[in-house]
């Protein structure tokens, strides 16, 4: 009885629409489509223009707009060869920086994921005094601007820590990648712990209790129960952190220096945009090289990203 009562209004609603109502509906849906198309075009056009330009010969990029391609098509991969492998100092040498980006990113994603997972498990499932305050503190740290940490952290790496003239922590060797990994890991933890905690807290408590009754240790519970169940959440956070580290400029500028020794692609591109701002054949191809990897990862893992955004992924 109740089922039909609910279905009835919907069934009645469909047919008796007046003609005026139908026209109004069509009109609004037409403007709506126009707005949608306008925004979609506006949002795609700049990227498309850049991609197309990166494939055009140098003299054409610099003298004609990319839209002339359709009347006078000419394609080349020279720009990519030049920007990746060119030996002249002006050419970009992006291949080295690409490797740096990879070397920076992999540990800077793995470490915070693991450490945040451990901490989130403790905060979600181990009752201890002061737990709420620890959690709220970490949550608040999410919003603290990185800028607050940069100067002292750099001096911590370059000079170490001395208390009253006694060295406690020695200076780090600043040539390598370790300090970049360290900085990225520190800055990622608040968001990571918060996100993973939210997912872990949603796991059924009976599951943990049953495992504990069976004599499972926390290590076993983590490995056998928690990690498999929150694997999508781990993927979400890993994806966030990957995009953050790969696309980061500020942390890299300060902790990775500016040379092909250890600086990532973003640093090199920012340099090129500043000093060789009109060498569009290199800028377009370089920008595309740096964008293509996150784009592929992003497109294939988009649903994890959306899930993370909806779970409150805000980063400091």
């Amino acid at each position: 009885m109740t089922a039909t009562a609910i279905e009835l209004p919907a069934a009645v609603d469909a047919p008796p629409r007046t003609a005026a109502a139908r026209i109004r509906r069509r009109l609004t849906s037409r403007t709506a489509s126009l707005v949608a198309i306008a925004i979609a075009v506006l949002w795609t056009m700049p990227t498309f223009g850049l991609m197309l330009s990166s494939l055009r010969p140098e003299d054409q990029i610099k003298t004609t707009g990319w839209w002339t391609f359709f009347s006078d098509p000419a394609l080349t991969l020279d720009n990519y060869r030049q920007v990746l492998f060119g030996t002249s100092s002006s050419s970009g040498q992006l291949a080295s920086f690409l490797i740096n980006s990879v070397v920076i990113t992999v540990p800077a994603v793995l470490l915070p994921v693991a450490l945040a997972a451990f901490a989130a498990y403790a905060l979600a499932w181990l009752p201890f005094r002061g737990r709420d305050w620890v959690f709220i503190g970490i949550f608040a740290l999410q919003v603290v601007p990185l800028q607050m940490a940069l100067v002292p952290l750099l001096s911590f790496f370059s000079r170490g820590v001395t208390v009253a003239g006694v060295p406690i922590v020695p200076a780090w060797n600043l040539d390598g990648f370790a300090q970049v990994w360290f900085a990225h890991t520190c800055f990622a933890l608040p968001l990571g712990i918060f996100l993973l905690h939210n997912f872990m807290a949603g796991l059924p408590g009976e599951l943990m209790e049953a495992a504990r009754v069976d004599g499972a240790t926390h290590g076993v519970i983590l490995r056998r129960i928690v990690v498999p169940l929150v694997a999508p959440a781990l993927a979400t956070f890993a994806l966030f952190q990957f995009l953050w580290v790969w696309n980061d400029l500020l942390v890299a500028l300060i902790f990775a220096g500016g040379t092909a020794e250890s600086a990532p692609m973003t640093v090199r591109l920012a340099q090129m945009a500043g000093t060789r701002g009109d060498e569009w054949q290199r800028l377009t191809s370089g920008a595309f090289v740096s964008a293509i990897i996150p784009l592929i990862v992003f497109l294939s893992l988009q649903r994890y990203f959306v899930r993370g955004l909806l779970a409150g992924g805000v980063k400091g």
Binding site: A36, P46, V103, L126, A140, P145, Q147, I254, A287, Q302
Partner: protein, 329 residues
Amino acid sequence: MNLAFDLAAEAPKFVQLVIGVAAFCAVVAAMLLLVDRVPMRQRARWPAAVLLAPALLLLGVGLVVPAIRTTVLSFRSGDTTSWVGLDNYEWMFGQPEALTVLRNTLVWVALVPLLVTSVGLVYAVVVDNTRFERLAKSLVFLPMAISFVGAGIIWKFVYAYRPPGADQIGLLNQVVVSLGWQPRQWLLGPPANTLFLIVVMVWIQAGFATVVLSAAIKAVPADLVEAARLDGASPLQLFRRVTLPCIRPAVIVVLVTQSIGTLKLFDIVRTMTGGQFDTSVIANEMYNQAFRYGETGRGAALAVFLFVLVLPIVGYQVRNLRQARQEAR
């Protein structure tokens, strides 16, 4: 063209990568071993301490202690050797160049969250329940995967300038010229150049707003919409009276997130203008003062001011979180 790439020369980097991954494995193994060695019993304190220790240590060393030191540094001179009282703050609120920076940041924070939310909301509404919804959302969402540096270059190319008479290579100037106007150097003339930089940020972030708001719109109870429609509400009324009140929390999330992100914005300004032509913002100026001009005190003062600006947001968020946790009990 001279092309060369010596993979062997890059080998040391891969050695470092292997060391880094090995360190990761060692940390995980050590943690799991340690937490299993700790007696379980009723007390959760010890396993919790083991599991939390590395994260809390890193947060302390990497964020908390540096933040306190930065606050102290903001009262010290540029080379950090002597106390200068409030001099750095006086500089920040007194010198015209610093005031320009503050004004620009204000413009950014006033406009970006508003524009991002509006564009995201309009787009989420117009593509809702259409055949191309997924594709349409992906298109607007894509810029989120691109770095701010990459986005800066993409838009610098859109704004590219060629003198009148020559073929334009930038899309915007081409449109302007074909409408019969003169081409312009969009990024050189204040105060409008800040607006052209803001466009880039909106372009990147609109996808975020679209996704969050679209999910909220879909969660609006269908019978509510149906009831309003039966009462003869027009689409616009429906949106204002039913949809908007229902998605208010999501709108606030977008506004808050965007405000925080915009306050800390650095990459776009640095890539596109380097902060010249009166476009600098706090985060960019902080980097310049602290790491380029050796004015650590001023840089620290700017960072502290940034922190003070987000403080109310932190307070608001913490209050919400505590309420949510209390309700969950």
